[in-house]
Amino acid sequence: MSTFLWVIFPYICLATFVVGHVWRYRYDKFGWTTRSSQLYEDKLLRIGSPLFHFGILFVAVGHFMGLIVPQSWTERAGMSQELYHIVALLGGLPAGIACLVGLAILVYRRRTVGPVFRATTVNDKVMYAVLAVVIVLGMWNTIAGTLLNLGIAGDHYNYRDGVSPWFRQIFWFQPDASLMEGAPLGFQLHALLAFLLFAMWPFTRLVHVFSAPIGYFTRPYIVYRSRDERPGTATGTRAQKRGWERVP
């Protein structure tokens, strides 16, 4: 069971995540969008959406710090365990709260604004449910984890000794399930549901995250494109393709 939960299940989810995205990109570019609902309502969105997004993006950065960067690195940089957790709490808590409040506003809006509710699919609802639970559990872990770690309440648990190495091991293809067995239930559920969310990701509107338009900073303002990328269509100012030069 432990192997399934902490080794097989994560791999299934990650594989679905990767293959799903490739599949969706190839076969459903047309469906790859934020499905913005701003046309219907924008007062609540104006508050909720930035709160949620800035919150969750900050939280994502926090996860990178906590999961990917090993404890030994921060220690070598002269950051003590306590200091790290205080920084994590000070940074993570506001971001988490912003994210949660934003999410609450967005969900409230989805439910109460008629046209937005009409445009909400079952897919959206399931995604929202999982996303909300993951975020709430995550928040809980941040608070509880810090307390545990600083030994203020309950047994000592440092997720950077347990969850983080396990997470990194997944990418070296030798995860040690026992590392997760010892983690508190909150962490276990958060990790499992997060992987479930990853598995759902490519099939929901969340795909929009991977088209975050960073290229906007570097591309020229006006994009010119040829009428037709097919061979033999050298008209206008477009150069002829090699082998398809027109007979003069």
Partner: protein
């Protein structure tokens, strides 16, 4: 010099009768789908009025288009790239559905299902957005014909500076219609606003399109376009906009709005321009100079140097020929009667307008004077400040001089032609008074008043037929080349595929429609290689091949042997009845 070709349109506002046919046909063709109920790629506004979406012209509110910075550079009015991305989670300047209007339908069902009762059952309006019953309070043309204008029209942003002088009382105001489509700008701010780079300008003909596969629904383009001609499809979550009917234009047929225009006031043709000069022209400091600046970007295809450069840029010969004959070129460059809509947005719009003389003419008529007399008209143009300032706010960023010049030309043409129509001697001095030759004036009259289909629409084909043909050849199933039998008639997937038919059916259909629209005689849906194409058969005459050939010795039906010149004498002769007069979707031969 970097020569580029641009498909452009001019509309002659004097001839618009505000019938909305263009809007309706466009909607039927492009936006009759879920998610685009509220979308009108073509809409017709009554001016003065708020337009659609409500008050879109007030860029202090909507922040569309470009502005020049203190150091003379262009900047998106809604903010640069960083501002855009910081605001991406919720766009601060996006019109809501209420600014357009909440589209609705009626529950006709109650009409059918209502039991017998004393009062008539009513079909109540139901919102297509919320699904609830609504009270209809606004639409895409709510203030049509100045309806409710005492309340609404006073809020028209274009009345700025003259609001106190305009009275919205019956018979004391002026009014005209303004049909609008996407401007297919030379410097499109919609494209510049798109974070994913999904909106592009086509190199060949300058048509601005949204790549539906690349659009990610960031909805920044809606804000970026000052004309509010990019719409958000709320079902697909993607932006959509007027396509200049590119599938039609590519095969040489005018856009749906132009084709169906009742007033025949739309002209389509090419403009050549120097792409290197666009930014500079769009960034001139004084708004009043923008009209001239945009004209300076255009190139004259009759100039051999331009022709050489155009050829070097890869513009095909027939395109250069078409550019020379372009009615748009004549109206913009030669006669100088067409003006851009809102040049102050600095997007370099490419759908231009001939401002209406009618507000002036109407006033003279009402006062009982001769409204076709040059001096009366000229005096009125000088005296009637209000309509002219209003027109200037629309077409020249408030500079009245170009508007006056155009109206004088139109007025001169009016009185010059009156003499000719009444059989009097034409008076050369009328033409001279507005700096034109007599012949030029007559040509202008012909183009504005009685131009034929082929003169109003000079649209070179996109050489797309070859592309498809070549591709079909290249990707053809090799098996078919062994099948000598099939080679001539049909391919492995039936008629229209493989080697047998190098012209795709869609292109063939459009070609035939075009032939019908442009021919001098009524033609029936002709066949190709004896095939019957019922898609194009309009019910008149008998398409060749509909019936098997008669036996030898019997007169063949008058379909003729040549598929190129089918006649429909039969329909004329049968029962001695006149043929129905509607030439579906086209100016057939008879009204020339």
């Amino acid at each position: 010099m970097r020569v580029m070709a641009q498909m452009a349109m001019v509309m002659n506002l004097d001839k618009c009768i505000g019938c909305h046919t263009c809007s309706v046909t466009c909607k039927q063709a492009w936006t009759n789908r879920q998610g685009t109920e509220y979308v009108w790629f073509n809409n017709v506004e009554t001016r003065p009025g708020l337009g659609y979406p409500r008050g879109y012209e007030d860029q202090e509110v909507w922040k569309g288009g470009w502005e020049v910075t203190a150091n003379g550079r262009l900047r998106l009015k809604a903010g640069g790239r960083l501002t855009k991305l910081l605001n991406i989670f919720s766009n601060p300047k996006m019109p809501s559905i209420q600014d357009y209007y909440e589209p609705w339908t009626y529950d006709y069902e109650t009409l059918l299902n209502a039991p017998a009762q004393d009062t008539f059952p009513v079909a109540r309006p139901t919102s297509l957005i919320s699904g609830k019953h609504i009270n209809i309070e606004w639409s895409a043309n709510w203030d049509d014909d100045l309806g409710g204008s005492t309340e609404h029209a006073a809020k028209d942003p274009m009345l700025k500076g003259i609001e106190d002088k305009v009275k919205f009382e019956f018979e004391q105001t002026f009014m005209f219609y303004l049909p609008r489509i996407c401007e297919h700008c030379l410097n499109p701010s919609c494209a510049a606003s798109c974070p994913s780079g999904a909106i592009y300008k086509r190199e060949e003909d300058g048509i601005v399109l949204v790549d539906q596969d690349r659009c990610r629904g960031w909805r920044m383009c809606v804000t970026g376009c000052p004309y509010k001609k990019v719409y958000f499809n709320h079902k697909t979550g993607k932006a959509e906009k007027c396509t200049f009917c590119y599938p039609r234009v590519e095969v040489g047929i005018p856009t749906v709005c132009a084709e169906t225009c009742v007033g025949r006031l739309r002209y389509i043709g090419l403009m050549l321009y120097d792409a290197d000069k666009v930014l500079e022209a769009a960034a001139v400091e004084d708004e009043h100079d923008l009209y001239e600046a945009q004209r300076s970007v255009f190139l004259d295809p009759r100039d051999p140097a331009v022709q050489r450069e155009a050829e070097r840029a890869g513009i095909p010969g027939d395109w250069i020929e078409a550019a020379k004959k372009s009615p748009v070129l004549k109206l913009i460059t030669d006669y100088k009667v067409a003006l851009p809509l809102h040049p102050e947005y600095r997007t370099m719009p490419m759908v231009w307008y001939i401002p209406p003389l009618s507000p002036v003419v109407d006033v003279i008529k009402d006062t009982g004077y001769d409204a076709e007399d040059k001096d009366n008209l000229f005096a009125a143009i000088d005296a009637l400040r209000i309509p002219i300032e209003y027109l200037a706010n629309l077409f020249t960023a408030g500079d009245t001089r170009p508007v006056e010049a155009v109206l004088r030309r139109l007025a001169a043409m009016r009185s010059y032609m009156r003499d000719i129509n009444l059989g009097r001697d034409p008076q050369a001095h009328i033409a001279e008074a507005v700096g034109m030759e007599e012949e030029e004036m007559y040509e202008m009259f012909r183009l504005l008043a009685i131009a034929k289909y082929g003169d109003r629409y000079v649209i070179p084909t996109a050489h797309g037929e070859q592309a498809h043909a070549l591709e079909e050849l290249a990707t053809d199933c090799p098996v078919s080349s062994f099948d000598e039998e099939l080679l001539d008639s049909s391919g492995p997937f039936g008629e229209g595929s493989g080697r047998g038919a190098v012209t795709p059916v869609a292109v063939e259909n459009l070609k035939m429609l075009q032939e019908r629209a442009q021919s001098e005689t009524l033609v029936s849906g002709g066949g190709k290689r004896g095939r019957v194409n019922l898609l194009n058969w309009d019910g008149r005459g008998m398409p060749e091949g509909l019936f098997p050939q008669r036996q030898k010795g019997v007169e063949p039906p008058s379909g003729g042997d040549s598929p190129q010149q089918p006649t429909d004498d039969r329909s004329v002769l049968e029962d001695g009845q006149a043929r129905p007069d509607n030439v579906a979707g086209a100016d057939g031969g008879q009204q020339r």
